[in-house]
Amino acid sequence: MLLLVLLAAATVITLGYKDPTKKVVDALKRGANDVVAPLDSGVSSALRPVGNFIEGVIHYGSLQSQNAQLLAENTRLRTAALQAQDQARQVAQLKRQLGLGGTIPRVAADVVGASTSNFAQTVRIDRGLSSGVAVGMTVVSGDALVGQVVQAWRSGASVLLITDPSSNVGVRLGQAGGAYGVAVGQGAGEPLAVTMVSPNAKVSRGQPVDTSGLPNAAFPPDVLVGTVRSARLSPTSSQWSVTVDPVADLGRLQYVTVLEWSPQG
């Protein structure tokens, strides 16, 4: 029986790599998610008030002080939003004057769940193929990079976060002309590790890190990824050892935006 399980699993895993079977598996995954997503959404909606009530009772004290903080923050953000609107108008005007059009279409989405796997940093969103969301598209929170769509079905999609160890993002450190590198995820709550940064580059703590936008990059250019947390260059090393704190609060995502941009353009 043990041998049978091992053989069957090895067969399924091997077939999963082959193209015709892979397409069938992808179709099955989409179908399964299409069946479960509405049920999941219904159950979650029904249980949310109960969960919120319990959480409210448990955290009543801290919620009061949090409320006061949020009111102050709201005032500050309103002012910042007005300034940002003004700057956006100016940028749009300048782009028109310089003939620089081509903004990327966006789809707003709610984060409806965390990863079902304990081994992947992913979130599920409530917009999918029917809203124009497709595998490979970039996902941001505000203007900060969240990750990339890795699976999409009719009414939802799965987004691989940049903190997942299998995530690689081509980045540029500092402003235009800055050094390039690859930001690799190191797990939830951990900073990204940036590799391949030339020892001749100027790297400093707090420096902004954006997507590189190099040819064939998986992400559009100039999307904010994070800021440099630490940078070290030992005399014997052939590259900087850099860590980056993501700007997006990946542990508390509620709303995200999907950029309808794919590596193929």
Binding site: V5, A10, A32, N33, D40, G113, S115, N118, A120
Partner: protein, 171 residues
């Protein structure tokens, strides 16, 4: 498997998948959450036997693989082995002693988690043997130990098993 079990078992699997998505995925400790489908596999294994446990584990593993982004078949392997292991301990002694079932479920879950990570690493899934593996194994094991009691009752209902009588397997 009886005609009644053929209806109840898929319903139970669907209910467990929805419960995992809408409830358990959000109950995280150290970034990890319990695995309800694995608990159901263990309960089915403990209620039937090694052969049926392995078959149920493999089938439910394929179902689990539909909802994750790792290589298709990895969960089938881990759940199949967990179901087989749980089935070896199937019997009245385990089924009438909740603490023994809880201990077995905890060990089998830790084993399944390690198998999943090691096999994933072997087939080129990056980052599965990462530093949180101990946390994941602990949380999944603890969750299984707590949930295996209700899961055993649900498995007996799904298999249309009468109290005190063996299920007769999943054949």
């Amino acid at each position: 498997m009886t005609p009644l079990a053929r209806v109840r078992l898929p319903l139970l699997v669907l209910a467990v998948v929805v419960a995992q998505h809408s409830l358990l995925d959000g109950w995280r400790v150290g970034g990890a959450h319990p695995d309800a489908l694995l608990v159901l596999v263990l309960a089915l294994g403990l209620s039937t036997g090694p052969r049926e446990g392995a078959a149920a584990g493999f089938a439910l593993g394929l179902v689990a693989d539909l909802f994750v982004d790792t290589q298709f078949g990895l969960s089938a392997l881990a759940y199949g082995l967990a179901g087989l292991g749980a089935g070896l301990f199937a019997g009245t002694a385990v089924r009438s002693s909740w603490w023994l079932a809880a201990v077995l479920a905890a060990f089998a879950s830790a084993w399944a988690t390690l198998v999943f990570a090691a096999a994933g690493d072997l087939v080129g899934e990056g980052g599965l043997l990462h530093h949180d593996l101990a946390v994941v194994a602990t949380v999944v094991s603890a969750g299984s130990a707590v949930l295996v009691g209700p899961a055993l009752r649900a498995a007996r209902w799904a298999l249309a098993e009468r109290q005190g009588h063996p299920a007769g397997g999943l054949r």
